[in-house]
Assembly symmetry: none
Homo-oligomer: 401 residues x 2
């Protein structure tokens, strides 16, 4: 329905996403992090723009990072075809190109005791370099099981990816992570008859990994999670006529953007580095640039409001790097809320602002949760954001005569 | 789901639609037309009523007049069966009764040079009387082509309607209007094999019309647009239990209202004439009266904010004619926004107010875009307006025990 309304032009859109941006007020936190932060640049954007609250799924439904980003990119977060496994997201997020017949697995290095009981599900959060060393060690010893090629790759710290490549593989296999220490990992059980051989290959991988890692102090076993294959997803370009680029440092967000067909840009991890990356690619012909800031969510999950405030202020401080590019449309929001009061993702709608020459300025003066409650966009589904940005960019014709 | 909730009573609803009412603030226009207009009567209604912003389709999607009015009348503007051709809308809008087997065409009189190249797509906007004269001239010469009866009727100024009546006709034919001057019109191409004969009839009509009009200075050719047949649409009475009347001067809006089964009332073009028409029919048993004011949109499309303000003030000045009728429910809104800053229809939500004894008064003091942003109805889909008005009129039972 929408695609035929798209009318390409030269205008450029920036979508700046602070992960888990939204918060709630509570007795402990009488202001949210966004309300407490000093944000003169974001406030000026809110004053000149149109504000509201974006709803990742619906009142009461808390999204994971994958669905939340699919919604931001205009894909139904509840559609089965967009329920992409974490294995696929992590592996594609580090830039690995999956075949449709591959099975991708997200692994955790973990610590077990002499009885095989888990004592640490994250192997003491070993540093990234340790993870790289151990992945190389595994890959040297394990390259093929029952005719399937085995590819092992580091993701980040204690997290790694495994790809099974071959014919007749089926990802319909249960995870082995029991989610608690003091227990043994589960065996990889097939959920359907066709996945029996794949489950056996994964079981054999775990046995061999336990052998190879037996001399490691921390990372002496593996947990296999998010066992999955590539979904069939209409590309962002086909869906919205946009040539998109993703400036995101963390694998999962790169993974979702990559699945939607956005170009994944290499970038540093700091806010300033990410914004400088946008500046560096700005003249390269992209008309949609997605920027992902991770740390707002991490501090929210820790309940660390000072940390979350500091990241928001860091974004505000460096925002002029983006503003000086004079994008035709700039929008700022989060993928979901991560209130410090909850130390977790939540369902609360997320502050949203869009600024363009035709945004329909409202009377919101500062960028915050309660301010955005009074904005002209009201509470609206995150899945409509891309259409709204296309309209602001003059890239949509009218529907009907 | 809704129909079984309808509980008829004697209460009366007035829906006053100012076409393209909504606006946006911009550098050039720091206030919208509605905000700048002096509207004591509308403000009093807003103060006594409940306000919000109605959303014709969704954030970012700009509706044409047809879809926007279908939404106002409670019909899904995106449903294929409500995607009615302009030919049908124009021909039914002038009161012509179409058969299901007819093909209706919206025609433009246009000017071509000696080589058949278009020099004016609207024949210099010839006056309505000229259009009537030329239609009569065409009708005298062309009454039948290949077994199909040909009916020609004036619509307004340079616009006319053609109905093909017969068996085996199929409207799946491309328009001939190239949308630009300096080009020759397209031939009427069939889009499917079944429409071949209809396309040939239209081509023959154009050839004969060119002959008949060869001595005209301005209107010496025709463009054929919106080739379409009657859709199957549930009537307003069946859907909502309402006996509706439409007080609208312009054909397209009469067309949509007529397709929904509302009674089309003859009326003059000025605001005062339209309101007097409502007064004249008020005791005739209608429990829903739709009033359409066109010029707010026309001035918006011209970017003429003084003109738009003046029409809004004219509506306000004559509003007491409606208020003295003491309708149980009165609602005021637009079908979509037409900001002077954009000189076109837009996606921005439209100021909306409803006043009844049970509307749920909010704290909005004046009728304007930003005022309505703070209203109790928030931003809500236009397709829900009729249900809201039915409820305010006491015409809806509760759902469930």
């Amino acid at each position: 329905m929408l695609r035929h309304l798209v009318r390409p032009n030269d205008s450029k859109i920036i979508l700046l996403v602070m992960d888990g941006l939204g918060g709630i007020r509570s007795e402990e936190f009488p202001k949210t992090a966004l309300e407490a932060a000093r944000t003169p640049n974001l406030d000026a954007l809110a004053r000149a723009g149109a504000c509201g609250r974006s709803m990742p799924i619906s009142h009461g439904i808390t999204p994971g990072s994958g669905p939340a980003h699919f919604a931001l990119f205009g894909y139904d977060p509840l559609a089965p075809e967009n329920d992409v496994g974490r294995g696929v997201l992590e592996v594609t997020g580090v830039g690995y190109k999956l075949l449709d017949t591959d099975v991708a697995i997200r692994g955790n290095f973990a610590t077990k005791d002499g009885d095989g009981v888990l004592t640490d599900r994250r192997a003491g959060r070993i540093p990234h370099e340790e993870g790289e060393r151990i992945c190389a060690k595994l890959q040297r010893s394990i390259t093929e099981i029952d005719g399937a090629e085995i590819i092992v790759m580091p993701v980040r710290e204690y997290r790694f990816g495994v790809v099974l490549r071959g014919t007749g593989l089926d990802p319909d296999v249960e995870e082995t992570d029991p989610q608690l220490t003091g227990r043994k990992p589960f065996a990889p059980q097939p959920r359907s008859p066709g996945a029996k051989r794949t489950a056996e290959i994964i079981a054999e991988f775990i046995r061999r990994a336990n052998d190879v890692l037996s001399d490691e102090k921390k990372a002496n076993t593996v947990l296999m999670r998010g066992i999955s294959s590539m979904p069939v997803i209409e590309s962002f370009a086909d869906r919205f006529g946009l040539n998109g680029a993703a400036v995101a440092a963390y694998p999962l967000y790169r993974g979702v953007a990559g699945l939607c067909g956005m170009k994944l840009i290499d970038t540093g991890y700091t806010v300033k580095e990410e914004f400088e990356t946008v500046r560096a690619i700005y003249s390269e012909g992209y008309d949609f640039i997605f920027i992902h800031i991770k740390k707002t969510d991490s501090y929210g999950e820790d309940g660390n409001i000072e940390g979350k405030i500091k990241v928001i202020e860091e974004v505000d401080e460096h925002l002029p790097i983006l503003l000086e590019l004079e994008p035709d449309v700039i929008a700022v929001t989060g993928d979901h809320s991560t209130p410090c009061a909850l130390k977790s993702h939540s369902w609360h709608p997320v502050p949203f602002l869009v600024k363009s020459a035709v945004c329909g300025k409202d009377e919101v003066e500062t960028f915050g949760e309660s301010d955005c409650d009074r904005g002209t966009l009201s509470v609206f589904p995150a899945i409509k954001i891309i259409e709204l940005l296309l309209a602001n960019a003059g890239k949509l014709k009218k529907h009907g005569a």
